[in-house]
Symmetry: C2
Subunit: 220 residues, 2 copies
């Protein structure tokens, strides 16, 4: 009988980490609503832990911008300002564009295949109008590129912005369009060709287009 490989034993899973993950998820999906007041005693009971890991999680969530703590007064979930997508996407766009540039020297055939395969799955999800999956696969696609940029600062920043993207897209009902499929193909092509300028330009456009789509959606 194969012994169940306890893979994740390197860093033990603390109550704080569990609490953090759960609370973040609740904020992103709206279980904890924008503006909602957070009482650590309640949350502690709900998650079956004490107040300490809750408080520590809330502090991390504050750094990420998901909650705001008013010392001695209250802690509440930050508002979802739909307009903030106009602020969020530009920095993400330039960082993803930079990632693409940096990834070029590290690319090999199998990575390109992985990107193509991911975009293929992305296309299927979009065409099936499974926008939830599409969003997740789109994230995978871009993550491959970010990973290959092999830059820990970019990696860390993108990792902290991505949950905000999810939260905003979720609350704004932004959907992935077919145009992204072709842009991804362009990205793959320019990556293969090693064309830094063009891949950066397309990547930037790919992200900024969501802003236009959001803004045009409002006027409809």
């Amino acid at each position: 009988m194969p012994i169940p490989t306890e893979y994740q034993k390197q860093t033990r899973k603390t109550a704080k980490e569990n609490a953090f993950t759960q609370l973040q998820q609740w904020i992103i999906d709206g279980t904890l609503q924008p503006g909602e007041k957070l009482n650590d005693v309640e949350l502690a009971e709900a998650l079956g832990v004490s107040r300490t890991p809750i408080r520590e999680s809330l502090q991390l969530l504050e750094v990420q911008g998901f909650v705001k703590m008013y010392p001695g007064k209250a802690t509440q979930v930050t508002e979802v300002d739909k307009e903030s997508i106009n602020d969020l996407l530009p920095p993400l766009a330039v960082l993803q564009a930079l990632s693409a540039e940096l990834a070029i020297p590290t690319l090999n055939e199998s990575t390109i295949e992985e990107l193509e395969e991911t975009n293929h799955r992305f296309a299927k999800a979009v065409q099936a109008e499974d926008y939830f999956s599409a969003l997740k696969i789109d994230e995978e696609f871009h993550q491959i590129i970010v990973d290959h940029a092999a830059n820990r600062y970019i990696h860390s920043i993108v990792a902290s912005l991505q949950p905000h993207v999810r939260r905003l897209f979720f609350h704004n009902s932004i959907i992935m369009t077919e145009k992204s499929i072709d842009e991804h193909k362009d990205i793959i092509r320019f990556l293969t060709e090693g064309n830094k300028e063009k891949v950066a330009a397309v990547m930037r456009e790919n992200w900024l287009r969501a802003i236009d789509e959001f803004n045009s959606m409002k006027t409809e």
Copy 2:
């Protein structure tokens, strides 16, 4: 008699914040050395508080990448990998470039004057070879632009990267050169002209040049 306006009464100053600021400073300036093991009991005694605010500060410092916590084992100051400047500056460069673009529509005459005055002080510091002041003033200069971009995500990311810049420049003895003075002038000019592309290009160069200077320094 003018009543001393208690400006910062909005958020009270907690023990955690004090501890955090102090610990971060110690790590940046090398009082707490790279690789040093951090014992929260010792730190608590040193700062005259209990372990709680210390632990909370350490967790924030971990998110920022200044310490690494090994649950149940140890907490230590992260190493200063001199080469990581090659990773740190590119994302900062593209974000500062983006900030300049975004700042253009918000600029007025008094802002331009403020930038010129700051660059003038910068020039004096560089010429006086007071590189510590120069670095701080350079930071001020760029901060003005970031502030005017009025983008909270950029603001927050830059704020988290800046301490790393300070730490690396400190440990690498990187100095500000006269070339930066002229580049700042170019930045001001292109901002005034509203030339997005050019100001972004110069801004990016201004930051990336530090990489070249660092790399050429190694071979000397």
